[in-house]
Amino acid sequence: MNDYNNIRPNPDELLASIKLEEDQNKKGKLKIFFGMCAGVGKTFSMLESAHIDQSNGKDIVIGFVETHNRPDTNELLKGFEIIPLKVVEYKGTKLKDADTEAIITRKPDLVLIDELAHTNVPGSLHLKRYQDVLDILDIGIDVYTTLNVQHLESRTDTVSQITGIVVRETVPDEVFEKADEIELVDITPEELLQRFDDGKVYTPDQSKEAIHNFFKKGNITALREMSLRIVADRVDTQLREYMHKNRIRGPWKSGLRLMTVIGPSPHSEKILRWAKNLSYSMGATLLSLYVESTKKLSPSQQDQLNKNINLARHLGIEFITTSGNDIVRSILDIGQKENITHIIVGKPRRWNLISYFRLGNFVNRLIKYSGNIDVYVVGSDQGEDNQYMKYFRLPSFTSGYSHYSLSALFTILTAVIFYPLKDIIGYQAVAFGLLFTVSILALFVGIGPILVSASLSALLWDFFFLPPPFTLHVDRIEDILMLIMYFIIALIGGVMTSRVRKQEKLTRERELRTSALYQLTKELSITSSIDEVIRTSVKYIKKYSRLDSTIILQGGNNVLDKLLRPENSLTLSDPELSIAEWSFQHSREAGRFTDTLPSTEFTFYPLIGSKLRLGVVVIKQEKTLSGDEKAFWDAYRTQISNALEREFLNDIARRASILDESDKLYKSLFNSISHELRIPVATIMGASDTLLSGEFDKGTSMHLHVEINKASERLNRLIDNLLNMSRLESGRITPKLDWHDVHDLANKVIEVLKKELERFNLEVSIPDDVPLVKIDFGLMEHVLHNLVLNATQYSKPGTTIRIKMYYDHQSFIIQVMDRGPGFPQDELKNVFNKFYRLEGSISGGTGLGLSIVKGFVQAHNGNVTIENRKNGGSIITVKIPTEIPDLNQILL
């Protein structure tokens, strides 16, 4: 069963590797010419290789090649286009470095950039050259580069141990591991030494002595072995991945079964890789096991454990967990159950007393009870921080002078108080008094002052209280013992209390941050607009980190907006804005305390949601964030990003639905208009055809003429409505306000609609004190016209239609009332929408009338409402804010 699982690739893994391939196809390919140290001929090989590529037609440029004026290398430079180095002014000197931007602009197929581990000159975009190389690869340009084994981050320690030279420039292992090709440039140590003697090897930055110490055969051999091993490991990994991907069954015929035990330490990574390789060479299947104990893991341990589990999966190792208090027993139980033949555990690098006891015990027991299972104990050649050491790390001294003087003061004070009492209570009791002071002080001050207080109190006690008094000398043995004990107790008590205090403070801080995060999340979940989200976020950042911040959003087209929100929070100069842009484009942090463009006063963090890049948040940091703070800040950003993304997506959804709606409306408009236009045209055509044919009688003739007339009026009205609608749509309605007599308004409309109003009982009520209003007559005439026409179209003949106009506190009010069918209650709010037609309404309108009314009224800054009347019918009220003329001034 396990064999089968081990062969069949995990679908997630397959997807991941396919995606990796896809990504890799888009990105440029990185080839590293790798060597054990300077002088092996990496640059030379690189150039040679490039020549071959060039003859195959590749477009190659040289970004940066350091020849150290060696003639053979210089020779090889010929034939390549060299991108000129950019010159950077730094503290008065002109420094030259590779010009990444020029390379990107040039966009060759391949660029040669020597010395991957180089640190860029200050003022460059990135701190390190490898970051520039990553940028170049992102664009799709291939890169050849060179690297020494000492530059690998994971190997620097070892190298400096071997050679005695401290390496400062490093490249993360990730970059090395993700490279597409590694070519090892290898020569024998003898050859290298020969070259060195010949003066062909160039080593910058090192003193003559250091170099001399470096170029010893033993060193070089060790380095060579290291580089060989690294490359071999890589080959193994590639082979394994290849076999895995192509579902090639490994050599698992031997029936051996391995099991590694992993834990929450970085050591486990090494064990897993080693175990995997071992399984190949042994032809064994492999399992990994984690035993959960009741002991709780710290977050960093949890993190590491997750990393280890992921690595196991990535390597295709089956993973089991089990739980138990006795780890050894749990391991062996599983071992038996799974028919394990070999167990692999790790050991820490540093052996000290405590680890010896704990781990030694563990390994011993495992071996003791393992029966016929072999146990491999694997060391690590990587340095690891022994966690036990942490307990004995020296504390940091950070208290201020005031604390020191305060503790000294209180200690002295206590001594002074007890001095007169010393004969009454005895000098031993005084010790307790002093101890008491020290303990109380520990509640308030740091470790430094406590030490001072403890020492001082011990001295005081000795000098003033221990016989003989006024000397530091102590007579009695028991007193000496007491003094020593006292000091130790004071010290431990003080330090412990202080540490507890510190821990408590940290916990409180963390709790505060967690509750801040919770508050932020809660508030963000109820915000309902992008501005609100931003305001809330900035508020919370200020509240809990006491930092000023601003957010810059994406402005469309995947480019940042220029606007800072909120507006007056921070001001950014143009170069700072372009850093923000960079951070946004590359989804990486930049600015102060990062390794990209660190010489600015702000720090820029990208805000990335699950689907969109949303923008950048800018803060003015005072110091680098601690691990805890960073975790919270990341969580903050995630919350903010999620809220922003939610609002963005909401917006998009809203706009899409509006677009949908307006699409529907336009379709309906189109249909409606063609329908409405055709009917009167058809009437006119038909009637005039008949009239032309001459076949009619007098009565019919009249009738036909009337029909033509009516139809043309209808057309006219429709055209008017359409024109008005389009005026409204185009926003070209600016009311021309002027004084008008309201009677004119009413009369004009009544006049125009004379025929329609014939069949109704019209009532007009305009009180005498309403002479003038300041309106746009044309617009308001239309409004009243449409309202009254509506009333005539829906009311039964003979009913009353009433027009009322009056003033009400600076507003001019028009009301049109009818006794028609009214509107359904729930439709009232839709009545003024474009194309709204009442169910079963007679044709002859497009539903535009009332929406035009609304548009024109709104152009006057007024509003229009509709209500159903108690005894049937509807009342439409138009309310417009208006001036009242000063009639007294006029009528002198």
């Binding site: 008008h740 009677h743 009369n747 003038l772 007559f777 044309g778 009528l891």
Partner: protein, 228 residues
């Protein structure tokens, strides 16, 4: 003197010209047509019509400019035809020499009425005594006396000036600016509220139904017309 009943129609729309020809002919007018501004000016000069119907939306030249050119020597009435919602153009035309206006689409009845009024006013320039009557209303321009149904009406001097001005130009549309300038003075040409208030006052006094005036008709956005 034979009444000149020649009307020149200057309009680029053939359908409009045809329609006008039919309606005007039916009512005893002879018409000549022009479809461009140039043609129109030439024909105005050669035919000397009693009245010109001028479309403001001519293709080759702006209607106002044509109006200006015509008014350099043509003294008879010009009625302009325009599209709806171009009150500004109409007011400009009226203030620059046009006598009246019509908006398309217009009713034939209105057209004929305006033509009649314009012709009457123009042919009546010589005479026109100081006694005018309109239905129940009798106005003595010289004596400053106004009677309605033979009852003396009390009008303030401003009211009278206004009434007189309108009555002298009865049937013709008078722009707000024109009325304000003539009655109140140049600096009042944009104080429409004065006009409104006084018209309201007048209506109260001379109209049977002040709220449904039949004598002083509002031409919205343009001015007033003293009815006939």
């Amino acid at each position: 003197m034979a009444t000149n009943n020649n009307i020149l129609v200057i309009d680029d729309e053939a359908q409009i010209r045809r329609l006008l020809e039919i309606s005007l002919n039916l009512n005893g007018y002879k018409i000549s047509e022009a479809s461009t501004a140039r043609e129109g000016i030439v024909m105005a000069a050669t035919h000397n019509p009693a009245l010109i119907l001028l479309d403001l939306g001519l293709p080759d030249e702006d209607g106002l400019s044509v109006l200006g050119k015509l008014r350099e020597w043509y003294l008879n009435p010009i009625i302009i035809l325009s599209v709806r919602n171009s009150e500004e153009d109409i007011i400009k035309a009226l203030d620059n020499g046009a006598n009246d206006y019509l908006t398309k689409p217009f009713r034939t009845g209105e057209l004929l009425a305006r033509i009649r009024t314009a012709l009457r006013l123009s042919q009546d320039k010589t005479g026109g005594g100081s006694l005018l009557s309109f239905g129940p209303l009798a106005i003595d321009l010289a004596g400053h006396i106004v009677k309605k149904n033979n009852n003396l009406l009390k009008l303030t001097s401003t009211e009278f000036s206004l009434l007189a001005l309108m009555a002298r130009n009865s049937g013709k549309v008078l722009t707000h600016q024109y009325l304000l300038k003539e009655v109140w003075g140049h600096s009042y040409s944009d104080q429409t509220q004065y006009l409104r208030v006084y018209v309201a006052q007048l209506r109260k006094k001379i109209e049977d139904y002040p709220t449904h005036p039949t004598i002083i008709i509002t031409e919205p956005g343009i001015g007033y017309r003293f009815g006939e």
